[in-house]
């Protein structure tokens, strides 16, 4: 083994940031959220009801309010 895997990200157009290889996510308030799945989706539209995770709410926003 050659050390920990790098964290990889993919920004979904109009949607969340996919995150692979992370063990935890620290939000703006310093709260630590443990990653429990192989891939997690981080909210980028600020309307999720379970921050920091995406809950699909961006799809009900008008296109101009969705992330790039």
């Amino acid at each position: 083994m050659s050390g920990p895997r790098p964290v990889r990200t993919f920004a979904c157009p109009g949607g969340p940031l996919l995150l692979r290889g992370a063990e935890e996510v620290v939000d703006g308030d310093g709260e630590v959220h443990v990653v429990r799945r192989p891939v997690v989706a981080i909210c980028r539209c600020d309307t999720s009801q379970r921050m920091p995770w995406c809950d699909g709410t961006h799809r009900s926003l008008p296109p101009e309010r969705r992330p790039d």
């Binding site: 157009p13 996919l18 891939v39 809950d55 699909g56 799809r59």
Partner: protein, 347 residues
């Protein structure tokens, strides 16, 4: 082996079942199923309750089987032929029902993943979750659990059939998604296991097939469509378009159903199952549409109409399934079939 429990083969519901199901109760070596008669009945347009019970049972011989059916039927040539004939019939019906949606998606501009999301978001469709969130009763919620058990107790298994038929980035993404579906190495988070615990906590049987006799064709067509698409190599792109819509129509409704379960005071395990799917499927919808369907479209542009076909098939099938439940509830009756012998059913 998947445990000692196997259901008994259900009774036929019509001419197709009469031709196929009693034959399965004899050893496969005693003789083939009457394929020519089946072809005639299929050509005449069989009743959906009759057709989808037979198709579900034929597929189940590949999975757990039935207590009273010879395992040798699984690969008996006449069983394979009957399955293929009925699968072709279902595929033809789905192509007819989805033609307009597929044309619209093909005529639209933009990347294929965006067009898949647009197809879902523009569809509308019946929402059992909205109804249960606001008005439904606990008994109706349990009926939903029973209907969805035809797939959820075997969640992701039909999609796993497609894994060896993909390559490269699409295969890698499907494996990643399936790993999450099967609990990411933790049996306690296995999705079909979460569903079984929810059913058991409600006093329902979590044995696959126990409620088969109560499930109408509009419910059984949901897993049958997955099997028809998932078991045929030429339909692998359609299976992935279908899977994407299945995931992309799950996160929002799961949130509503988690709240409905709380409102109705159902056991915590029901909330847990749906709550898990809010986050999981917000990830999975991106993985299927972008990493799987997007990769397939890039690698082979000729498969794009098939991605849209599978996606549209999921929408129309799920809509019909949901509508059947809402119609029954609006009329003040159970959405489950009455088989006259409901001893196994606690609902």
């Amino acid at each position: 082996m998947s445990g000692p429990h196997r259901p008994r083969l259900p009774a036929p519901r019509g001419p197709l079942g009469e031709l196929v199901l009693p034959g399965l109760l004899s050893p496969a070596a005693e003789g083939p199923l009457p394929i020519d008669n089946v072809r005639d009945v299929a050509a005449a347009g069989p009743d959906a309750d009759d057709l989808h019970l037979v198709l579900w049972c034929l597929h189940h011989l590949h999975v757990d089987g039935f207590a009273d059916v010879d395992p040798a039927w699984e690969w008996a040539p006449s069983r394979v032929a009957v399955w293929g004939l009925l699968a072709d019939h279902v595929e033809a019906e789905l192509r007819l029902a989805t033609a307009e949606l597929v044309e619209e998606a093909l005529a639209a501009d933009g990347p294929v993943p965006d067009r898949l999301f647009a197809m879902v978001d523009g569809f509308g469709g019946a929402s059992v979750a909205s109804y249960l969130r606001k008005d439904g009763t606990a008994e109706q919620f349990l009926e939903l659990l029973v209907h969805r058990s035809a797939y959820n107790l075997r969640e992701s298994d039909p999609q796993a059939l497609v894994l060896p038929r993909l390559t490269g980035a699409a295969q890698s993404a499907l494996a990643e998604l399936l790993y999450d579906e099967y609990g990411a190495g933790d049996p306690g988070r296995h999705h079909s296991g979460l569903y079984a615990r929810a059913m058991t906590a409600c006093g329902l049987s979590a044995a696959v097939g126990d409620y088969l006799r109560r499930l109408p064709g509009t419910t059984l067509v949901v897993p049958n469509t997955m099997h028809v698409l998932g078991l045929q190599r030429r339909l692998a792109p359609a299976a992935m378009g279908h899977f994407g819509v299945f995931e992309a129509t799950s996160s929002g409704p799961s949130r509503l159903l988690a709240r409905a379960a709380e409102r109705l005071g159902l056991p915590r395990e029901v909330f847990d199952y749906y709550d898990e799917h809010v986050e999981a499927d917000a990830v999975h919808e991106q993985l299927v549409f972008r990493s799987i369907c997007g990769s397939l479209a890039d690698t082979d542009p000729a498969c794009v109409p098939e991605l849209f076909f599978g996606a549209a098939a999921c929408l129309v099938v799920e809509d019909a399934a949901g509508r059947a439940l809402l119609h029954a509830w609006e009329a003040g009756r159970s959405s489950l079939l009455d088989d006259g012998d409901n001893e196994q059913v606690a609902v």
